[in-house]
């Protein structure tokens, strides 16, 4: 128990979380500090490449296991299912219109790569090393929620025409981050240890530094998005904190059901609790342009992301350990 508090405290004083806080501070204080968007995207590409590759190398040593298949199935089911709960909550407790509620709900079925990355670092620090294949689960969970979200939005008069459907399908199956994560995962798997010997200083040495710089930018972005919080109202704000807890709870139950290791369960909880900020917003702008983007972006970036980073991750890790032993 004291151990848990020590880890939570260590999390709050880790460079990654502190750089995020610095970004928030700079943004709120309206400093002119900023990260050029090309640099931010370059850092994001790096993080996806590195995490995918490392996961693939890890799997190359274990081979294709039943655990992988079960975890993938669990992730996909969660991604499809969570938006239903989110939608029900939003419609019951907030005054968001149907489209905006459905679009927001879709974000919670999907995942946030940087939350997963920060979570993996925390787990490693706590001696809970998740399986490499959780990266594949990450990629698989990115987009199913989009479909649920659209179903929840209902068959509007101007529902997706043929062109929109094809654009959407590409977004779901071939979204850049899905392709890069899955591709890097496959490359890690194929090239295995010899591949890692070549890329090690790149994918491991730099990892935490790049994460820190990226989180600085995430802090700036979150701060800028905070101005949208007024629109959410109190209930909306609470949703942004409660929904990750529900997602994590569902994930823990699922993990128990399929007898995951505590570390893998914690990783699945982090994925379930996190909300998308890349793949889903893009899909929603295409399919549900009438939904208000400032609502879902504020929820995802300015409320749920900071909550998970600062509080959620250590909490989920502790819960997984308590519930599943280890």
């Amino acid at each position: 128990m004291t151990d848990i508090f020590a880890l939570a405290a260590a999390n709050l004083t880790s460079p990654a979380v502190l750089f995020f806080a610095l970004g928030v501070f700079a943004g709120v204080a309206r400093s002119d500090l900023n990260v050029p968007e090309a640099v931010a995207r370059g850092l994001a590409l790096y993080l996806m490449l590195a995490i995918g590759f490392k996961g693939g190398v890890a799997v190359s040593q274990q081979g294709l296991t039943v655990e992988l298949l079960l975890a993938a199935l669990a992730g996909v089911v969660l991604s499809f299912a969570m938006p239903v709960i989110a939608f029900a909550l939003l419609r019951a407790f907030t005054r968001l219109d149907r489209a905006t509620a459905a679009a927001s709900a879709a974000h919670y079925g999907s995942i946030s790569v940087v939350t997963f990355v920060a979570g993996s670092e925390f787990l490693q620090m706590s001696g809970m090393v998740a399986s490499g294949h959780m990266v594949a689960v990450l990629a698989l969970m990115e987009t199913p929620a989009i479909l649920t979200g659209l179903m929840l939005a209902g068959r509007a008069a101007d529902g997706p025409d043929a062109r929109t459907r094809s654009e959407l399908l590409r977004e779901v199956l071939l979204n850049g981050s899905v392709v890069l994560l899955m591709g890097s995962f496959a490359i890690g798997w194929i090239s295995g240890e010899p591949g890692m010997a070549r890329l090690d200083p790149f994918v491991n040495g730099l990892f935490q530094g790049v994460l820190a710089l990226f989180l600085l930018d995430m802090g700036l972005v979150a701060a800028r998005r905070l101005s949208g919080a007024r629109k959410l109202g109190f209930a909306g704000g609470v949703f942004g904190i409660v929904m990750p807890l529900i997602g994590a709870g569902l994930a823990l139950a699922t993990a128990a059901l399929i007898a995951m290791s505590p570390a893998d369960a914690a990783a699945l909880m982090i994925l379930a609790a996190s909300a998308s900020y890349i793949a889903v917003p893009a899909a929603m702008r295409i399919a549900l342009p009438q939904a208000d983007p400032s609502v879902y972006l504020t929820l995802s970036l300015a409320i749920t992301f900071p909550f998970n980073l600062a509080v959620g991750i250590p909490l989920y890790a502790a819960a997984a350990r308590l519930a599943l032993g280890g």
């Binding site: 900023n34 994001a44 800028r224 949208g228 893009a282 702008r285 983007p293 400032s294 972006l297 970036l301």
Partner: protein
């Protein structure tokens, strides 16, 4: 030597024709659709610029975001009057559904037959 299409002698060049300049500001996820609309209306070319930041009915955006979904692009197309009319008509429906604006005005061009 290959002459580029639309090449004319200097004498011919004197009377410069008038064409329409169309400018649309659209969101990145809808760019492909707007370009398709231009092409269907018969535009022979276009140029796209990156927006940096802006404000409109749906509030503010800026390119320095981790999120690409609300970024805006500026599309320029020089067309003949007929194509411009077709684009503007189609754009009514487009901009009733998607964020952004479109406007048009006359411009004097060289090599007018290429538009």
């Amino acid at each position: 030597m290959r002459r580029r299409p639309g090449w004319r002698s200097e004498a011919e060049a004197m009377a410069r024709p008038t064409r329409k300049k169309l400018v649309a500001i659209v969101e990145s996820p809808h760019l492909a659709r707007l370009l398709a609309l231009l092409e269907e209306a018969g535009a022979t070319g276009f140029t796209v610029l990156d927006g940096r930041e802006g404000r409109g009915l749906e509030g503010e955006w800026r390119r320095n975001d981790v999120v690409g979904a609300v970024e805006k692009k500026v599309v320029i197309a020089i067309t003949n009057a007929e194509t411009a009319e077709a684009v503007l008509t189609a754009a009514e429906g487009f901009f009733a559904r998607y964020p952004g604006i479109i406007y048009a005005h006359d411009v004097e061009v060289v090599r007018g037959e290429r538009f």
